[in-house]
């Protein structure tokens, strides 16, 4: 802070600090706090409320009718009863229009077993996507960083980036067309005579979770390749040669020299891919067309926009956030990298 003041003066420093604080507040703290708050209460709506009010009104009608036939003390007593009933009605009506909120962990603890299964399944799938993406991307990243000539590396990187200029949805639709019943792959298989469109013996790729995996990996490869590429790129080529010169196999060179060096990149790549796939809504939605079970992200969407149950939705979302935080912590432990390395 003092450093900043010394280099930029008080005015600019104030601007920096305000902007940073604003950014933290608006982009990180506020939405999460909002989610958390929403997830912690429910509206305690009484199903019997309408009936109770109706009954009170009919009681009131009877009493008011009786009121005309009563005299003296009796009349005053009844009048009091009428007044108190009116007050009760007003209270009930207020409850109906503005039901009370009850704080607690109900939204988290009351997840149905079906939803919980989906929750776990989504996490497992996202983990599998992450591992598959790592297996696919590490060799690519290494090749671009260390084996390709600089011109070819630039070309390869460009080739990887260009598809990302297209909207994510369109990229997913492309895979849809490839894997569809009468899509590219099946057409090819039909051409080979392995399947036939007439008797619908095509391979229903889209009904397998695998198709979602493929599309997810495709959608998020860059987030895995780039961090790994960036770290591998900084590895001194002489280290590879030294390892080779000392007799190490390719596998040992990678295991002992390249991977330890690329750890921060691998951790970042895994974290990004995991978070993006566990929270991805459009990819499973488009790829499965609802034909092979929901992903958790779709469940959350439903809570918000179909059941209008924002509190449960918020609780589900926040659970996902917690899972992601947990994943980050685990990655940091496993790869023995600190926040600093990851931030790089």
């Amino acid at each position: 802070m003092n450093e900043l003041i010394r280099s930029y003066g008080k005015g600019l420093t104030a601007v920096f600090v305000t902007l940073t604080a604003f950014w933290l507040l608006i982009l990180i703290i506020l939405p999460q706090a909002f989610m958390l708050e929403h997830s912690l209460w429910i509206i305690d709506r009484d199903d019997q409320l309408g009936m109770k009010i109706d009954r009170a009104y009919s009681d009131l009608g009877l009493m008011e009718y009786d009121l005309n036939s009563k005299e003296g003390d009796e009349k005053t007593a009844l009048q009091e009863e009428v007044d108190s009933l009116k007050a009760t009605i007003a209270e009930l009506e207020a409850q109906e229009t503005d039901p009370p909120t009850v704080y607690g962990l109900q939204n988290y603890t009351k997840m149905s077993s079906l939803h919980f299964t989906i929750f776990v399944k989504s996490i497992v799938y996202a983990l599998m996507v992450t591992v598959l993406a790592l297996i696919v991307c590490y060799p690519i990243a290494f090749t671009i960083a260390k084996l390709a000539t600089p011109q070819r590396a630039a070309l390869l990187l460009l080739g990887l980036i260009i598809p990302y200029a297209i909207n994510e949805l369109l990229r997913v639709y492309a895979w849809l067309m490839i894997l569809d019943y009468q899509g590219v792959v099946n057409s090819f298989l039909a051409w080979l005579g392995l399947v036939s469109f007439e008797n619908k013996s095509w391979v229903p790729f889209l009904e397998y979770s695998g198709s979602v995996f493929v599309a997810l990996i495709y959608a998020y490869v860059l987030f895995m390749i780039f961090p790994i590429y960036n770290t591998v790129d900084t590895l001194d080529k002489n280290q590879l040669e030294a390892s080779r010169d000392l007799g190490a196999s390719t596998f040992r060179t990678h295991w002992r020299v390249v991977i330890p060096h690329a750890k921060p990149g691998i951790a970042v790549g895994c974290i990004m891919t995991f978070m993006l796939s566990v929270g991805s809504y459009s990819v499973p939605q488009i790829m499965t067309r609802g034909k092979s079970g929901d992903w958790f992200s779709q469940l959350i969407y439903r809570q918000f926009f179909e059941s209008q149950n924002w509190n449960v939705g918020a609780a589900y979302s926040f659970s996902l956030v917690l899972v992601c935080l947990g994943f980050i912590l685990i990655m940091m432990k496993v790869f023995k990298v600190g926040i600093r390395d990851i931030a790089k």
Binding site: A242, S243, L246
Partner: protein, 360 residues
Amino acid sequence: MRGKDVRLEDVVMRFGDFTAVQKTSLKINAGEFFSVLGPSGCGKTTILRMVSGFIEPTEGSVFIGEDNMRGLGPARRPTALIFQNLALFPLMSNWENVAFGLEARGIDRKTRRNRAFELLALVGLQGHEEKTPAELSGGQKQRVAIARALAVEPAVLLLDEPLSALDLKLRQYMRAELKEIQRKTGVTFIFITHDQGEALTMSDRIAVMKAGVVEQVDTVDNIYANPKTPFVATFVGENNVLQGKVAQADKEYAVVETSQGPLRGLNQDGLSAGETAMLFVRPERTVLVNGVIPDNSFEAHFERRDLEGAYVNLFFKTDAGPFIVHEANRGRHGDLAGAAKVGFNAGDAIVMRPGEVDNE
């Protein structure tokens, strides 16, 4: 003695249509300290990489001992390379660095750990085994790199300018250290450098290279005393150059007609009268003429004097270019001004066919 000899037979290395190393044959003896000396970009590293197996020569063969190395990768050659930037593994401890080659050979952890500790002790690094390279000084890192290379028991150790990153004091110290290790282990050292002083102090023999061509291979004494080409004459040590036409010549001596008059020197290339020639004479073989008149002498214009303590360098200007006299400091050069007479004996000068000289 563990070392093996290394032979390059008609080796050529081309990258595309650029020839980095012209046709070269070299024999490096077993257990020898052999230096490859040359300016930047002349192909020294390329030669080293052909011996270590990172590149295959376009033509010709490399032999180590009796074996032709063609087709063998760096892992399968009895060589170990010390890189210019050392290329230590920064995430491993020093002993793991040293043990890496043994690890790659499947030797169990305990054995390789013991061996690594022994080697680190050999290079004087006891107590630093568990540290990482980043925690060491430049000279210490150097030693780890040496220990790491020695761990795989190479017959030939290849060193690519390993001292260039060190400061002068440390460099001088490490030179002695390297010599000592070479003597103790008996491994053949092929040492690459562009520092002629380093090559002269450390080597048994030197190959001087220029632009992909090995100009001369000889013992250090011969390289210095009997350079075969103008480039070697000027790249290794200092030399005064005087150009002219041969006026008369016999088997032993030639007289060159220069702007400073006729000068006599050894007729090394067997030149005959009428040919153009270069005459070389080392500054320490020249004198300020004072009483005794040497074989050759002429007037030159005195410019300045650099004191080196025990010696002085006197700089003169002649029509043929600068001329330097290197003399013991006898305290009598202070009042030198204007013209002075300088000279040298014919036996100390070499007359050669003209060629490219090194002018840094």
